[in-house]
Subunit: 232 residues, 2 copies
DNA sequence: CGACGATTTGAATAGGATCAATGGGAGTGG
DNA sequence: CCACTCCCATTGATCCTATTCAAATCGTCG
């Protein structure tokens, strides 16, 4: 990896507290790579040779089966993906493709496991990250099983609005096709869900969404911190 | 904890390789408790004071919302539950109740975190367990999003049949109401799904299921190791 | 035997998916 | 700058899946 990028990486939560020597060992083996949009980085079922750390951009994790495809999660900086597979030296359960231009740090799984074993601070950071990912997936499963399509969309919009500053405006960072897959529905059904939400103050114009009655929308969505709060 | 139970616990994967002193520290703070069926052990939203280790019996993890309730997972020995919440010192995302008589080891979260920080072998075991749990949940989410109700049931039956020896017989270890919640459907719909599978050699008699045409059933279910294989 | 809860069955409804067709930008090339 | 094209999104119609509500049946336990 080029030395000018190293300070950037060193500041990431995952690496901030580990010993210098351990960090060097990781970086010696790692690549910081740029990718254009829509590049498939990994394919489910293949062995997990690398741990990926999102530094810039965004990546879609998706899975296929039965001729269908669904989006599991959108990864934004700073988070890892496929950490569990890398730690266990097993096959990826998901595929990944870039959504936009991305910078991604790739660390050989074997190196990750070696440093994990020798550096306790890194081990703690790995567990913090991994347990966070676990909770994210549990929330996604609850979201999917406890809510219908309109409720999932409503909660998604409320969460994004608050993430984006709460000004009553949401800019979708993914296209509607992907959003539909993330929310577990078809694109047609997503369109209709937006239509259903119009009386609740949801105005759609391309990727710009205006929320004019967030109280009404929240009454419909019934958001729960144990599903929607990313920090909980 | 009573000393006669200690060897039993020491052999569990999670504790097998750690240092004696660390193990003692854990056990000094821990309880091995018996519970009758249908006891609610934890409630979602409450702080994670303990890590739970299933020693004997089984536990249902479930979540509520929107007036609905769904089963997330059935925990059997030997596995932990709510490990992620305990490690992060956060609220439980799920509630838990015993299904049958159970023996469960309860370790204060704080002790777990302390020993995790000081014993590298334990840290490795924790990560192995946690990453395994992560992958289980991802598989559950894929199962839910990529398959319809009948396919989920068919795959469930095939997996249980193979777990139970492959003799063409499956004994459900949970009642049908809970199975329906686990598979993400209503009890009524589960009944109908069994009906749909009758032409595929599925005969239901109470909790005893006979599979007489597993090849046909598998052709319908299209099982995938990346969803159905617990070891992958 | 009787009662209770669990399961099954039936009918009606709602939620989502599918198929088909239309509308609407964003980018390209003239 | 404008027309063209392509892809995405929307809309409409219909079908299928799953939920809901209601009632009947089954099994088990007292």
């Amino acid at each position: 990896m080029r030395s000018k990028d190293i300070p950037l990486v060193r500041e990431l939560d995952l690496f901030a507290e580990m010993a210098e020597a351990s960090f060097d060992a990781l970086m010696q083996a790692a690549f910081l790579q740029r990718f254009p949009p829509q590049v498939q980085l990994i394919t489910e079922g293949e062995p997990a040779d690398f741990l990926y750390v999102m530094v810039e951009g965004s990546v879609e994790l998706f899975a296929t089966g039965n001729g269908r495809e669904t989006t599991i999660e959108i990864i934004n900086p700073v988070a890892t993906f496929i950490l569990a597979a890398a730690l266990r030296d097993q096959a990826y359960l998901m595929s990944a493709r870039t959504i936009e231009n991305a910078r991604i740090l790739m660390i050989p799984s074997e190196t990750v496991r070696a440093v994990f074993a020798s550096d306790a601070a890194f081990a703690r950071a790995v567990v913090r990250e991994l347990s966070g990912r676990f909770r994210t997936v549990v929330k996604a499963l609850k979201n999917q099983k406890l809510r219908n399509a309109v409720e999932r969309l409503a909660n998604y919009l409320l969460r994004k609005e608050s993430e984006q500053g709460g000004g009553g405006t949401v800019t979708l960072e993914i296209d509607k096709r992907t959003l539909a897959a993330l929310l577990g529905m078809t694109p047609e059904n997503l369109s209709r869900a937006f239509g259903t939400l119009k009386p609740y103050g949801v105005a759609v114009k391309g990727r710009e969404i205006r929320l004019t009655k967030t109280a009404d929308l929240a009454a419909l969505a019934k958001p729960s911190p144990l599903i929607d709060d990313p920090a909980s």
